[in-house]
């Protein structure tokens, strides 16, 4: 039937029409109900609403529904909403509208399927919104109304927080729960980033139930009514700076708000020293936001709000760190009463006081916990936990918290393995015997369940420190004892104790205090070491004994008992009290066996015995011992018959006291030994006697002498000069005492050299004197020495020294003057006298034979300058230049003389260069000599010509003519002062005048001696010779050198014509002083003219 297409189309059309009916689609008719919608809030009932298409007024509406084909239920209502049960699958609804008059307008049938029903839960209701201002936290509480829904539905909640008067969204957060078919009250916390006091905060909530079995549309509920937490700015008198005294972690972001009274304004807000931008929250509230806060000081960081009208408010923010996890948590007990846990806190939180870190110790097995009082200033923290009965294992959790956070550390301990006992106290020592003591001590703790291991430290001055361990059962606050044996009698010991657990060692306790104790005395362990010596007279015997060592004496030795036995018969008995270490027994010529016993308060030692018999010895030799280290090495031959050993005896001498005998015993197989003694001193000679021991007595075998160390002799031997000759000295010296030698004397050293007593020269031996001679005398028997090959009448220093292997003694010095050698003296006088006489004779002969020559040379009647040695002196000087011969008498017609000032200049006067007078007279009219100061040209004219041109006007310098007269003996001319030139001009006024007036043009006289001036003024003889020829301008001319006078003459003025000196009359005192009346050695060497 369904294969026919026509039928198919018909059926589809019919279904379409039916569907349109079911959906209540009214088409065109007025008053028809339409838009039927059904919504359920609880899955049991649903609310159906509809619209009526006509706007005409209508009356009631009849609503009939049929569920599960049962009898329809109808009811009339004026509203357009009915609540009916939610159908299991579908329901048929018939809605009939009536007019006001009761006439039916329209009837519509609807079929409602379950999927057409919407599920929208009812809006939740907030039970409470509670603020926590201290933490800025809001707590929202609401009921989930779960009893209205099947068990196990998932519910989602959406909570919205709003802020400020304008209700600005702050956050919207979700919360999920499961409905349990009960009304559950849910709580949700939200921490605000802004203090809740700053402004009002609001909250509302809605939810969505995810019911999977429901086919219809599901939707969120409506928002709940808003709950508000009003800010302080809503309170009429609310003000302040918030939050107050908050603690935050480093790096947090914090908002501070300043709430003030109405009418005021916030001017600025600062965090620490820095101002922050204001955020306006309301008319009465402003805020700042601090980002990434850094750690604050201990007293926190101040936030201050400055308001108008000088208003100010503030708060403090504490910024720190959360607690660090404790390190090295360790728990132990010292007494089984308290468990002490220690740890290191790690990083400091930077928070103190009430904000500081709190510790609590929780024992999780017992569930007990304690709060720990810790000192924040200490690095290590300690907390005590009581020991619980019957609990050995403890599981500790150390909880650490501060306002920022919390952490914990845990530790599981077996208490028996963590025992560190208290320090032992009340240590006492009691004595049992001379070798044992009993120690007692107390430990404040209950150690009944463990064994203790205690360690006793034993120390004394004469032995090494020892540790003695003793294990013992523990007790409850008990006293513990231990016995120490094998101690030494009469010894001062120090004891101290520490303990630990014996089975599970953890730590030693601290040491107890030290207790000192001296053990009791015991009889001496052995008899003293003894020796005896017979007196030189042989009638008495001195017995010596050595003191026992502390370890042997076992107490304080009070006396020694000395007995002398002869065949068991006691001849003598003595008790010698301390500190004597010898005694004497009168034996006569008898011998006996001597017994010595040491006694202390505890008893007597075993006796030490020695026989007094001394066997005779023959040919006892004395050897030298060798020093070895700080002892003396001695050796001897083996004596087979010495059956009971050897004894080396020596004696210590100290100053004026008799020497104390010491000895050392050696077994019979010994042949050498190094004798050591603390009493040995370097430089002291010790004499040892080696005795051999036989059963019948002791026999002296040999003597040995030696030094532990040889030193240089203390002094040199005294010596004297026995005899002195001109070339030898005989000295003698004395023997030196042994104690001055300080060693075995090896010789003498005599040093001598020339030397004066009291001279400042260093000592002979120190001087390194090359003349030092040394004589070494190694023959000790020689006591004199003759020193030969000395010089006569010479002082010698003699130094004599003695020397040992240790070195030289200080020197002993003498000064000796050898006797004079008379023959040499005579020779020394005669030879010079003879030589002098001989020379005198030779000189006389020579002088006599050469008298003429001498006279001619040194003292002619008329001195010939050419023969004058003195003048030859000048001549020789000028020999290099013929034109400069000073007093050459050759005819000379020089035209000019060139005068140079400097001595170094070579003589310039040469005949070939002399210029004519006319030429020479060409000088500056002003008479300036500046041009010629150093180089003056003096013009000369031939006599005749000179005569003609003589007498120039006096005022013309060029006509100046002068002759300088110089004492022939004068080796130099005093300098003529320039200002004296005018005087020179008027020189020749009276007396003889030269017949030739030389036109010495441009003559410049720079200096003249007063004697010359004087001679100028006199009217004495004037030489007629041309003075220009007296060229004194030689480099070595005294005049030229010292007076710088180019024209200064040297030698006697002489007449050119006569070539003779014209001497002035001797009696004419006004005339120029004579240069000299003749030559003599004396005059030759004199400079002064007057002389």
């Amino acid at each position: 039937m369904w294969t026919n297409p026509n039928l198919r189309c018909l059926l589809a059309l019919a279904i379409l029409c039916l569907t349109s009916l079911v959906h209540s689609r009214e088409i065109g008719s007025q008053g028809d109900p339409q838009n039927l919608k059904c919504v359920t809030h609880n899955l049991r009932k649903m609310v159906c609403t509809w619209d009526i298409s006509s706007k005409r007024r209508h009356g009631q509406t009849e609503f009939c529904y049929t569920i599960d084909d049962v009898i329809p239920k109808c009811f009339k209502t004026k509203e357009k909403k009915v609540e009916i049960p939610v159908p299991g699958s579908s329901t048929t609804v018939k809605i009939t509208t009536y007019s006001i008059s009761g006439t039916a307008f329209a009837t519509r049938h609807f079929e409602i399927h379950k999927k057409d029903i919407s599920f929208v839960p009812l809006a939740p209701r907030i039970l409470s919104l509670t603020p926590d201002f201290s933490t800025s936290t809001l707590t929202l509480k609401w009921s989930d109304n779960g009893s209205a829904f099947p068990y196990g539905l998932d519910a989602s909640w959406e909570i919205e927080i709003l802020r400020k008067e304008t209700m600005e969204d702050v956050t919207r957060e979700s919360y999920n729960s499961k409905l349990t078919h009960e009304d559950i009250i849910h709580s949700w916390n939200w921490k605000s980033d802004m203090p809740l006091e700053c402004t009002s905060h609001y909250a509302r909530i809605r939810h969505y139930i995810n019911i999977t079995q429901f086919d219809g549309h599901k939707d969120w509920s409506d928002w709940s009514p808003v709950e508000v937490v009003p800010g302080k700015d809503t309170e009429p008198s609310g003000s302040g700076l918030f939050p107050q005294d908050t603690v935050v972690a480093v790096g947090s972001n914090v908002t501070f708000c300043c709430v003030h009274e109405e009418g005021r304004q916030v001017q600025r807000m600062s965090y620490g020293a820095k101002d922050y931008p204001l955020i306006r929250l309301s008319s009465r509230s402003s805020a700042i936001r601090v980002l990434n806060a850094s750690a604050s000081d201990a007293s926190g960081t101040n936030i201050v709000c400055r308001m108008s009208e000088n208003g100010m408010d503030g708060t403090v923010l504490f910024v720190g760190y959360g607690p660090d996890t404790p390190e090295d948590l360790s728990c132990e007990t010292s007494n089984f009463v308290i468990i002490k846990c220690t740890w290191k806190p790690g990083r400091a939180s930077g928070l103190y006081g009430v904000r500081g870190t709190k510790y609590s110790l929780i024992e999780s097995i017992s569930g007990k916990n304690v709060s720990c009082e810790v000192n924040e200033m200490k690095k290590e923290r300690v907390c005590g936990f009581p020991v619980l009965a019957d609990q050995k294992t403890y599981s500790f959790v150390l909880g650490v918290s501060n306002p920022i956070g919390q952490t914990e550390a845990s530790l599981l301990v077996d208490l028996n393995q963590r025992v560190n006992p208290e320090t032992p106290e009340k240590l006492t020592v009691s004595e049992n015997s001379s070798t044992s003591v009993r120690l007692r001590w107390f430990i404040n703790g209950s150690f009944a369940e463990i064994r203790l291991l205690c360690q006793i430290e034993i120390s004394s001055a004469h032995s090494e420190q020892k540790l003695h361990n003793v294990s013992m059962p523990g007790g409850k606050f008990s006293t513990y004892t231990a016995q120490l044996n094998a101690l030494h009698p009469y010894t001062k010991y120090r004891f101290r104790v520490r303990c630990s657990a014996a089975d599970h060692f953890w730590r030693w306790s601290d040491w107890s205090g030290t207790e000192e104790h001296t053990t009791l005395e015991a009889p001496p362990a052995r008899g003293p070491d003894i020796w005896r010596e017979r007196s030189p007279s042989g009638k008495s015997l001195r017995i010596f004994w050595k003191p026992l060592s502390l370890s042997e004496a076992n107490g304080k030795i009070v006396s020694h008992e000395v007995s002398c036995y002869l065949l068991e018969e006691s001849l003598e008995h003595k008790e010698v009290t301390e500190p004597s270490n010898s005694t004497e027994i009168k034996l006569g010529r008898n011998d006996c066996v001597i017994s010595v016993v040491a006694k202390n308060h505890a008893g007597s030692s075993p006796p030490s015995r020695i026989t007094s018999v001394e066997l005779p010895s023959d040919n006892v030799k004395t050897d030298r011992a060798v020093a070895m280290g700080n002892g003396i090495y001695i050796s001897w031959n083996s004596y087979p018959n010495m059956t009971c050993g050897y004894i080396v005896k020596w004696c210590h001498s100290s100053g004026s006291e008799p020497c104390s005998v010491d000895w050392q015993k050696f077994p019979s197989n010994t042949t050498d030994a190094v004798i050591k003694s603390a009493l040995f001193r370097p430089g002291v000679r010790y004499n040892f006697s080696l005795y051999g021991c036989k059963s019948s007595g002791y026999q002296l075998l040999k003597n040995i002498t030696g030094y532990t160390k040889e030193l240089p002799p203390k002094r040199a031997p005294n010596f004297t000069v026995e005899e002195t000759s001109s070339d030898s000295i005989l000295v003698k010296w004395e023997d030196m005492p042994i104690e001055d030698c300080q060693g075995f004397l090896e010789g003498y050293r005599l040093s001598f050299a020339k030397g004066e007593k009291d001279s400042l020269k260093p000592r002979l031996l120190e001087s390194g004197n090359p003349e030092l001679k040394v004589k070494n005398i190694t023959d000790l028997t020689k006591k004199s020495l003759k020193i030969l090959d000395l010089q006569g009448k010479t002082s010698y220093q003699l130094d004599l020294q003695a020397y040992t292997a240790g070195g030289l003694s200080p020197p002993n010095s003498l000064y000796v003057v050898t006797k004079e050698d008379s023959v040499g003296l005579i020779i020394a006088i005669l030879i010079p006298v003879a030589v002098v006489v001989l020379l005198g004779v030779v000189a006389s002969i020579f002088c006599y034979r050469k008298r003429e020559w001498i006279k001619e040379t040194f003292y002619p009647e008329i001195p010939n300058p050419e023969n004058s040695k003195a003048l030859q002196f000048q001549k020789n000087i000028c020999e290099g230049n013929k034109s400069l011969k000073t007093l050459e008498m050759n005819p000379c017609t020089p035209n000019s003389v060139e005068v140079v000032e400097t001595q170094s200049a070579a003589p310039k006067i040469e005949d070939t260069e002399m210029m004519s007078a006319t030429t020479d007279t060409i000088v500056p009219e002003d008479g300036s000599d500046s041009e010629t100061e150093n180089h003056v040209v003096v013009s000369y004219c031939p006599p005749i010509i000179e005569e003609e041109i003589s007498n120039p006007p006096m005022d013309e310098p060029v006509g100046l003519s002068q002759v300088v007269y110089i004492d022939i003996q004068s080796m130099y001319q005093p300098q003529i002062k320039p200002e004296e030139e005018s005087e020179i001009d008027i020189v020749t006024t009276a007396g003889y005048k030269p017949q030739m007036q030389l036109p010495v043009s441009a003559l410049k006289i720079e200096s003249r001696s007063p004697a010359e001036e004087e001679s100028d003024k006199t009217a004495g003889y004037r030489p007629q010779a041309n003075t220009n020829a007296w060229n004194m301008d030689t480099p070595d001319s005294p005049g030229s050198v010292e007076s710088n006078n180019e024209n200064a003459s040297f030698g006697s003025p002489c007449s050119i014509n006569s070539r003779q000196f014209l001497l002035p009359p001797k009696d004419d005192e006004d005339s120029p002083k004579p240069s000299n009346t003749g030559w003599s050695f004396t005059h030759f060497f004199q400079n002064k003219p007057n002389d």
Partner: protein, 253 residues
Amino acid sequence: MWQCHRAPRGDGRRGSPSRGAGEGRGTGGTHGAVGGTYGLTDVGLSPPGVVPFVALLLLQRRPVAGRALLGTGSACPTNGLCRANVQEQTRRQVALLNATAQDLFSLYLKCQGEPFSSESDRLCTPSGIFFPAFHVNRTTERKEVMVAMYKLFAFLNASLGNITRDQEELNPTAKELLDRLHNTTKTTRGLISNLTCLLCKHYNIFQVDVSYGESSKGKSAFKKKQQGCQVLRKYVQVIAQAARVLLPHLSPA
């Protein structure tokens, strides 16, 4: 100058300060108070006794008025009251407080953090706090001066106790500040003892009405800091005046 905070040390805190009036524990000073580390040993009243401010002080948040009994009984002790040098010692104690007040105040400001140091004028204006009147000058009768002094130092002793307690909480590492506060408190206590002695001996006064400031206990940290700052600032001003006024009255006749 001063270092406010120091590295924590192992010795911890020493002693305890006298508690402030607001705490109800009064000054609790003994007559044998000593001048702390300054070596001023003062024994105003020879036998041990208690300045019984405590009897009249209650824990209140507003200024407390009370009558301080200077002696243990209803009259002054008749013998062994004062030692010979009590006047000189009193003068030296006031001088010492005057000499150390500014340093104490400066250190206090430094330890409170900014802006206390930079804005102390605004933050520490003592206008809002109680401070006993001290209207005396050099011409004021000596008896009145002594009574005013007593009131002043009784107040200061209590306030210093409060400040010390607050700083031990806020600044436990500021050892120098705490030491100075302790020493100042001790000196103040000794001074009260000496004033007690002088009032009794010379004027037979054994009861003085005293007022104490508001306790800072329970206040915010900032308020504690500010209150201490205000008290110390006023203290600096008044102690200088006290030293000027007290000097002629205590100078040897």
